[in-house]
């Protein structure tokens, strides 16, 4: 089995706020294999974005703080390096070069006072040993790759002159100009309308196939995950609660939270007057409930089980399908070690 490109082990990130320590990420395990798309789903504030930002050491410190954990990055067949221990200088050569990131708000994610061209060129000139003229050619190609017509003249436009969809395309072009191996897409389509959303996702899929890169697709839209991801990680309150291939997780969701998410989605051809919701609210990350953070909202919660006492570990309930619940319903495969969790392959 190939090495994962990126393996996040027991990552915990805290934020020091005036009202106390907020555990934004609290023991996340993830891995992404080459060419794979990992969909990370969860509500706002569940730690999806912070996990991705930690990968690039972009969590603002202070107030943020990498409490524990390792983020192993193994590119070019070299032994894996822990990205959290890299110096700022080393990170700068990784950011935008090996790992690129695109963000949720294309409206505000580009610097308003520089042209699109200047902003793309900045990344290219930083990471590639090319002259300006050559860099312009690369930028033009990058813009053409993301489907922007008349790319050469678009280089001279300012972000405010472009529509939201165009700006997100520019963001993608900028992120992909240096041929990264991993693209962290932090809710890339949330701020866009549905047709543009579909176009952007389609574009990402095409580029992924063309370049064989991996994508970590962060979203709160299960539909987006179903269509685009190979593997899905469901996050809740700073932890991964369910993990497996898209087929497995969508066919037989194991965690009550995942089931709740599916229940709250309308299905085609099904007549429902009212969608079923998950009762209660997301717990305050500064004040998590004891035991399983989901237990106060859980439909399956019973007094006698240790839900309120201990945090359930991520267990392999079916082959290559993990869930963190004391009510593990599948075949108990024993205790999979946390360290090698979870080698879900893309070629499933």
């Amino acid at each position: 089995m190939t090495e994962p490109l990126l393996r996040i082990e027991d990552l915990a990130v805290n934020f020091d706020t005036p009202s106390g320590v907020v555990k934004a990420v609290n023991g996340v395990h993830l891995s992404i294999y080459p060419g794979q798309t990992l969909g990370v789903v969860g509500e706002s504030g569940c730690g999806k974005s912070v996990s991705a930002l930690s990968t690039l050491q972009l969590v603002p410190t202070p107030p943020g703080c990498y409490e524990r954990g390792k983020i192993w990055w193994s590119a070019k067949g070299e032994p894996p390096v822990d990205l959290l221990t890299q110096t700022e200088k080393q990170m700068q050569s990784i950011r935008g070069n090996d790992i690129a990131m695109i963000f949720q708000e294309p409206m505000t994610s580009l610097n308003p006072v520089y042209t699109v061209g200047e902003q793309i060129l900045e990344a290219i000139l930083l990471h590639q040993a090319v002259g300006r003229a050559q860099a312009i050619e690369i930028a033009v190609t990058a813009l053409e790759d993301v489907g922007i017509a008349d790319a050469r003249s678009r280089l001279k436009t300012y972000p405010h002159q472009l529509s939201g969809g165009m700006r997100q395309r520019v963001m993608i072009a900028m992120a992909l100009a240096c041929q990264p191996k991993l693209l962290l897409a932090d809710e890339p389509t949330t701020a866009l309308d549905v047709t543009i959303q579909a176009q952007i996702l389609e574009l990402l899929r095409e580029l992924q196939i063309k370049r064989g890169m991996s994508i970590m697709l962060i979203t709160h839209d299960l539909g987006v995950v179903a269509q685009n991801a190979d593997v899905v990680a469901v996050m809740y309150a700073g932890r991964v609660v369910e993990y497996g291939s898209v087929h497995d997780v969508f066919d037989r969701p194991q965690h009550p939270y995942t089931r709740g998410l599916f229940d709250s989605m309308p299905r085609l051809g099904e007549e429902k007057h009212r969608l079923r919701t998950i009762e209660g609210n997301v717990p305050d990350p500064g004040n998590l409930p004891s035991g399983c953070p989901f237990h106060p909202r859980c439909r399956d919660w019973q007094e006698d089980v240790q839900c309120a006492q201990a945090v359930p570990p991520l267990q392999e309930v079916f082959p290559r399908h993990w869930a963190a619940c004391w009510h593990g319903t599948g075949c108990d495969q024993g205790n999979a070690s946390l360290a090698d969790i979870p080698p879900v392959s893309t070629t499933a």
Binding site: Q92, G96, T108, V113, T115, E122, A123
Partner: protein, 455 residues
């Protein structure tokens, strides 16, 4: 963009009229009116003969005996580059004057008033200007007026309907009265619309206002040209550093010091500085007032060693005199700017686009200077436009404390004297500067921020 600038320039005109009108009418309607303090210098209740004469002269010169609204109209006409010529603006050629002189020389009547041939020509010229006729015609008119008492009386009445004629007119008294009535009298010649040089008029003391401004403006400009770069460089550097090390010692200490300095009133600080640093009984480090030492004109430009040892030279002398006033003008100025820079940088540093830039692998230094600072400076443009007029006003206090003959001192002294033309001159210049800096700010904005466009 050009259309926008033209529109703005066109809008400046009514604004300027409004600004000057407010100042004009406040002065005109204030007790005592224009020049009041000069006339009642002795504080006498009853107007003496001398005061009456001066007042009559001022009435003629400035038209003070007319309603305020007409006075303002006259002033507007005077400063406007497009308007009607006034009688004093008419210039005669040498030939015209020579013609009149020949006519005066040939006439026995003027000969009888001998001893004052030059006065006769001057009188003819004044009359010609006032009546808007040629000097030759004026000599004929003068000839009639001097030759026949009733003609002389008519002419006097025409110039001043309220003139009192007590004794029967002789040629000599008619000439004297005409000279008195015409001296300084101006009339707008509505028959002569023209494009002319704007005229700021004459101060109460008799000097041209343009001349006064010409002397005062360079001094204030010098002060501001030294002050503004100091303020800006200190403010920008400390603002950037404070934002960079937010919450650390530098941020807190610099913020504390600046706020403290900002709270000290200039009036108090200026007096204290003189009291300690310029007082002969304390440390006589700096001069108390003025821009130069008395002997500055004889100094060399640069410092040098002469026969009597070290000579500080003109340049160092000026710097030595400017040190305290510049200190006063700068010390409080950078607090606001520095805080603004810091706040603006912090606002921008948490923006989404900065995260994007970091995610590209750009170094922290480049993030700050190329991306954040560029965006942070935009609000500073707004503030900098108000700094220019503010320094003009601020220097009023400093110039008065240190007796520097700049714009501030000129304006304040003119206001005390109720010297209409000087006050209006400084108002007009200040208004123009303020409006121009606002226009400049908006143009800078369009240049600095691609999102701003005036198309």
């Amino acid at each position: 963009m050009l259309t926008y600038i033209f529109r703005r320039l066109a809008l400046m005109l009514p604004t300027l009229v409004g600004v000057t009108a407010v100042v004009f009418f406040i002065m005109a309607l204030a007790p005592g009116g224009f020049g009041g303090s000069v006339l009642n210098e002795q504080g006498s209740q009853n107007e003496g003969e001398e005061s009456r004469r001066i007042r009559e002269y001022f009435n003629r010169r400035y038209g003070l005996d007319q309603p305020a609204i007409i006075q303002y109209g006259r002033w507007l006409n005077q400063v406007s580059p497009v308007g009607f010529l006034t009688s004093s603006q008419i210039q005669f050629t040498h030939e015209q004057l020579a013609e009149a002189q020949t006519a005066i020389d040939a006439d026995p009547l003027f000969g009888s008033l001998k001893g004052r041939p030059g006065h006769m020509l001057a009188l003819a010229e004044m009359l010609a200007k006032y009546q808007d006729i040629s000097p030759l015609e004026a000599t004929r008119l003068l000839n009639d007026a001097l030759g026949e008492a009733s003609a002389g009386e008519n002419l006097l009445k025409e110039i001043n309907p309220e003139v009192e004629i007590k004794s029967p007119l002789t040629a000599k008294t008619t000439a004297a009265l005409l000279l008195l009535e015409l001296a300084g009298r101006q009339r707008i010649l509505f028959a002569r619309p023209a494009v002319k040089m704007p005229d700021l008029g004459q101060s109460l003391r008799g000097r041209r206002v343009t001349q006064l401004l010409g002397e005062a403006v360079p001094i204030t400009l010098l002060l501001n040209l030294i002050t503004i770069p100091i303020i800006y460089s200190i403010a920008l550097v400390t603002g950037i550093l404070a934002a960079r090390y937010r919450g650390r010692a530098f941020d807190i200490i610099s913020g504390f010091i600046m706020l403290g300095l900002w709270c000290l009133p200039v009036i108090w600080v200026g007096v204290m500085l003189i009291g300690y640093f310029a007082n002969t009984q304390y440390w006589k480090f700096f001069p108390t007032d003025g821009l130069h030492a008395l002997e500055a004109d004889t100094m060399r430009f640069l410092p040098s060693f002469g026969p009597e040892g070290f000579e500080r030279g003109w340049l160092l002398d000026a710097a030595w005199h400017l040190a305290l006033p510049i200190l006063c003008l700068t010390y409080g100025g950078f607090a606001v700017l520095s805080k603004l820079t810091r706040g603006s940088i912090l606002d921008n540093i948490s923006c989404d686009y900065v995260r994007t830039v970091r995610a590209k692998g750009v170094s922290e230094h480049t993030v700050l200077f190329r991306h954040v600072l560029r965006n942070s400076l935009l609000p500073l443009i707004t503030v900098s436009a108000s700094i220019l007029p503010a320094l003009f006003v601020g220097s009023v206090v400093v110039e008065n404390i240190f007796s520097i003959p700049g714009m501030g001192k000129l304006g304040v002294e003119a206001a005390f004297m109720k010297d209409r033309e000087v006050v209006m001159g400084t108002t007009l210049l200040g208004g123009l500067l303020g409006l121009a800096s606002e226009l400049l700010r908006d143009i800078c904005y369009a240049a600095a921020d691609p999102r701003v466009s005036y198309e």
